[in-house]
Symmetry: C2
Subunit: 331 residues, 2 copies
């Protein structure tokens, strides 16, 4: 498949670097202000070749640009799948939302790593897909390398009663370290920032917003998947989520929990009706008590009991792996 990769952050760059290994060709890359578009010629056998992945990544690293073209040229290029990997934005979810609808209006596919459109405008996305020969997939928006969305899809959303889990590695790392070392939140946050596990402004992660967006996405999948007509589905956005983060979890709570064989994790849960994110007590050797930056997704099913899937929830190559898995499913 020919890919147009929109977004040249960690995920976009990893997709550009790994696409060839999966048998795909990158024909265009765009960041917020520049682009590079393959000119459709040049292979030794006369076949069309894509952009040079290593050159593009190097150019971005050294000069901060991907090429001399304009992002609009990337959106207009001859691709099979548009990969939307620009930063998550809320509310109108732009410019990511329009990147996706541009692809669909051209009857091409879109694969999202960007949570914004899927969490905040799911109804509009489904309507745009309905009018298009193209499809959308968004495994990379929930749980990185963990196949959460496709597993729910294969079991069929109507047969999934709930999905819950640890969906943010930054918050989980902090809570794990607080429990392991008996340290307070502020101390461990500083450590996490030094390690690059937490951002300079960590609120998106520690306030539970990132986990909530992922749960909103899962709630939309469950809700829309349970009905035949999208018009009958209840649509969720971030506003529907009941969210508490980890800033106010004191070290004393973790010590108390440990005396009872428990610990604290930031748990998100989605059903077809509710979305909740909050710190919760869990058994310290139990399935939900994953450590460090690991994520876990727990799927409750009607006929097959509970499934647990754990793994790396974030990272360039991990998320790119989910994006390329989606591209493979579109072939």
């Amino acid at each position: 498949m020919r890919l147009a990769v929109i977004g040249a952050g960690a995920v976009g760059r990893s997709v550009v670097e790994l696409a060839g290994e999966h048998g795909h060709e990158v024909v265009a890359v765009a960041d917020s202000s520049t682009a590079v578009v393959a000119d459709g010629t040049g292979g030794s056998g006369g076949e069309a070749v894509g952009v040079d992945p290593d050159a593009v990544v190097a150019r971005k690293a050294e000069r901060g640009i991907v090429g001399d073209d304009d992002p609009a040229d990337a959106l207009a290029a001859d691709y099979d799948v548009l990969v939307e990997a620009t930063p998550t934005t809320l509310g109108d979810a732009e410019p990511g939302f329009s990147h996706v609808t541009t692809a669909l209006e051209r009857d091409r596919h879109a694969v999202l790593a960007n949570k914004g459109p899927v969490a905040e405008r799911y109804g509009d996305l489904r309507a745009a897909v309905g009018d298009s020969d193209g499809e959308i997939r968004f495994e990379a928006t929930v749980g990185g390398a963990i196949p959460a969305v496709s597993t729910v899809e294969d079991i069929e959303p109507g047969h999934v009663t709930a999905v819950r889990g640890v969906l943010n590695g930054t918050a989980n790392f902090i809570l794990t370290r607080m429990a392991a070392e008996g340290l307070d939140y502020d101390h461990v946050l500083a450590e996490a920032q030094d390690l690059g596990v937490a951002e300079a402004d960590p609120s998106f992660d520690v306030d539970g917003t990132d986990a909530a967006l992922k749960c909103v996405i899962l709630a939309n999948v469950l809700s829309f998947g349970a009905v035949d007509d999208p018009a009958d589905a209840r649509e969720f956005t971030l506003e529907d989520a009941d969210v508490s983060g980890i800033r106010d979890v004191p070290g004393s709570a973790l010590r108390l929990a440990a005396e009872d064989g428990r610990t604290v994790r930031l748990i998100g849960e989605a059903t077809g009706e509710t979305v909740r994110v909050a710190p919760r007590l869990v058994p310290e050797n139990g399935t939900l008590a994953v450590s460090g930056t690991q994520n876990i997704v727990q799927i409750e099913t009607s006929h097959a009991g509970r499934l647990n899937i754990s793994g790396r929830g974030a990272g360039g190559p991990e998320t790119a792996s989910a994006v390329l898995g989606d591209v493979g499913r579109l072939e």
Copy 2:
């Protein structure tokens, strides 16, 4: 999709009962000597209807037959997908293998819950698929409700370096109980048989054969998935597996392990080159130490670290869920 369900044991009956909930229609059911085939008429709107699932299951329970037709009639029926759910047989894997090739020769799809053809004749199956417009899927052959095969498929076999896990619930139940109660193998086996968790002849499970067949299937998926031409792939059969079961694990080994924070589990592992099943020491609170009849599949990937998927590895509804997930992927 219209299904012909071949095999009326626990799995076949569950597929018959649950197909309607997934929007599919059962047009034929066969056991080893009888069949029922829908006659293609009769809906209130004049549309063709399938067999009556409840009536078929009841008939099998009360009279030991599914209908008055012949199994050959089921194989000749007008279906989209043949579900192969007859008992696993080794070597030539008949009659299951021929049921699948009959479907493929008619350019229809086959979904297997029967491990025999996939473990023992994978090369022949792939050749038959190559000559057909139909495809095969076999999620239900490995790990019941756990989406092991489709997850490896989505990551792409060339990017999976190994798959390992606890793949037999009977053996795992026995080891779990031996560790928990300090009892010997023979005592716990008797308990397992009373509970219906172990068969009267438990050898298939406790000798590791069942786990080995599942690992052989995974090795075939990894091996054939890593090359473009099936003729270049190394084919695995049960004979290639290095297998040790749990009959000789003494209670003392478990007590010794516990003193070191470990326990014993029957672990199967497949790479593109080897297949091994043996009892192994694992951390007692670690990921591989699932309890009771639970299964776990651990997938090592090139770019996305390790994925762990745990859940119910067996059971009629659980395995039927995997079969119907495969049917959904063929639509």
